[in-house]
Symmetry: C2
């Protein structure tokens, strides 16, 4: 026995989300095992046991389950059938494979939301370029075509501007398991992190305002610049999503704010999320702490905002490729309220998520200003 | 290369202080090597490399230095001569061996403070029971006898109430390297955590109010219930101590508040300190983050208090001995603003530091109340 707090957590995936889960779980003395194909993945040096294997490798997942009390994951594109097998043996898996299976496929995820009356764009399943053109007649252009499986950070999305692009979009997204959504004319992108315990307890974080660049998250600021009414609606939607999917653990509900101030769900991630990194510094319990609490069957922690906060993503710049070297660290750390997170990926690539900066301040204005200053100072170069 | 942020930190000691340093350093992607005799010490599972060896083993310390860019320590009772040797090879050691050597010995530590005009009790070196009786004539009774080397948590201290106890005290403390301090009639015990960077930058945390039980820290609350004037004096003293010892890294200055509101230094620890654990939740940069920043030569982080906070120590109760089992976890985690730290020591012993609870709240009153409730709920039993 390495630790007196008995829970042994198995995490599928050893990227930055897994790493930040471990940093919280270790505070409580838990034992953490991970499964990840990369020997030097961000979680590796702080995991108790690292099974080197593929995220979809059923045997490796089984091995992970055997040495863990509960299995969770930091990425949704994994082998859900293997998770069902683990669950059958009596070993808990959270979020449940049943909820993951629905969420993994964007068509079933969004269909479920629409059935339940959760505000989200109209959609159609498409099986051919002709289907796309028919959808265009219904929704008008532009409209968003999405691969139902496997997309993230804008990958797997294609914005069609006219019927002429039907073939191009169909080919670009691989030609099957596609869906179309009516275009949403939004004024702001927001997200709400929510957590549900094994006993149904739900904790919801405040609304985060997100700014994307080239479809990858660039900045998150909290509180969001929205009305109290919009904020309430967004948090209610997130709570409703947790109930619908009976999710256990952290979920992120990404939403659009429409011109009338109402919200529309864009996407759900059944895990801690990039737009929730701010919670490490700005909340009593971070999204990672609450994820661990939830999957371990513990009461959830306080999700209220302690201070205005800005998070800036550190991505590999265009043209940077090779061994990652971080510059500008001292400029960032000299900024009051700034904390630097470097995930520990040995190689930088363009748009790769290498770390993030969080800045808290007494006013959001100061946090925004300092976040921008910090972001400008820090560079991750490829040597 | 495991991490892109190049600094490799070597820590002598792998207890809870080392563990909490690693949890902060890992956020920035640093590589951490430790030296500790216990294979399952609290830091072991999250260190990149664990050299299993004694804290005073010069060869082991040399090995640690060889694989690290900078060497630091989480405990002051180590082999300072070995540290001087490391420094001679050009490898930086922080806090410096020169400052450690003076601080390690309470007589030289306090003599230095008195020379520099820092308020602290009168003292006398003693070499015999007769010396003790002579000190008693000068200081009156009660008076505190201290072993100059190696004491902590009240170990190495003896309160003499009359001349009759001179022989008893002399024997109990091992009979050499002893000193006597005049008794301090204090109204409160406080501590100030301070940090000094390699470039001389100093950051001082707010004053912490400490409550000891059987000479071991029981509770810390911040802000302390003292006047603005006393607070300023205490923080000035801490800053002055950092200048005197040219300390690099975190120091803790424990002080007494006297009846007139002035302060008197009790003891200095050249490392993060139990009474500074509150900084993890209640400050933007914790004492562990700032220690790492300082020894790595980085700018220091913000030390201001974000919320009122209470820290409660989790010690092994009298009579508990054996494999540690934690009970009452759910009651603690259900308290708003409560965070639980379990160090991961496999065996519990009476008075052994097994973990701590931190509670933040909007008012100190609520933090105190919730801290007490949490502390009562949690038990660490020996099975």
């Amino acid at each position: 026995m390495k630790a007196p707090l008995a829970t042994k957590i198995g995490i599928i995936g050893g990227g930055q989300l897994g790493k930040m889960m471990i940093l919280e779980a270790k505070k409580m003395g838990m034992v953490i095992n991970i499964l990840d194909p990369e020997e030097n993945c961000p979680s590796s040096s702080i995991a108790d046991c690292h099974i080197v294997g593929g995220l979809k490798d059923a045997d490796a997942i089984k091995k992970l389950a055997e040495i863990s009390d509960v299995v969770t994951y930091e990425i949704e594109h994994i082998n859900v059938d293997a998770l069902f097998e683990i669950e059958k043996t009596g070993k808990p898996v959270y979020p449940t494979p049943a909820s993951l299976k629905i969420i993994q496929n964007k068509l079933s995820q969004k269909t479920r939301l629409i059935e339940e009356g959760v505000p989200s764009p109209d959609l159609l399943a498409v099986g051919s370029p002709d289907d796309l053109r028919r959808a265009g007649e219904k929704f008008g252009y532009p409209m968003m075509v999405k691969a139902c499986l496997g997309g993230y950070d804008g990958k797997g999305n294609f914005l069609i501007k006219s019927a002429d692009q039907a073939e191009e979009a169909f080919e670009a997204l691989g030609g099957n398991d596609l869906m179309v959504e009516s275009f949403v004319d939004f004024t702001m992108e927001i997200s709400v992190l929510a957590c549900r315990g094994r006993n149904g307890e739900i904790a919801v974080y405040p609304v985060a305002q997100n700014d994307h660049e080239n479809e990858v998250l660039n900045e998150t600021r909290v509180p969001a610049n929205i009305s109290a009414e919009t904020s309430k609606q967004a948090m209610d939607v997130a709570r409703r999503v947790m109930e619908i999917f009976e999710g256990v653990g952290m979920f992120c509900v990404e939403m659009f704010v429409l011109r009338d101030g109402s919200v529309s769900v864009n996407e759900i991630a059944p895990r801690p999320h990039n737009s929730g990194h701010y919670t490490i510094e700005a909340c009593s319990s971070s999204q990672f702490d609450n994820h661990i609490r939830a999957v371990a069957g513990m009461p959830l922690g306080d999700t209220s905002l302690i201070k205005p906060v800005v998070m800036r993503n550190l991505l590999g710049d265009a043209g940077e490729d090779g061994r990652a070297v971080v510059t500008g660290v001292d400029e960032v750390l000299a900024i009051p309220g700034a904390r630097l997170h470097i995930y520990g990926k040995a190689e930088v690539k363009p748009k790769r998520k290498m770390g993030h900066i969080t800045v808290i301040a007494d006013t959001l204005e100061d946090a925004v200003k300092n976040g921008e200053k910090a972001h400008k100072a820090l560079k991750i170069l490829g040597k």
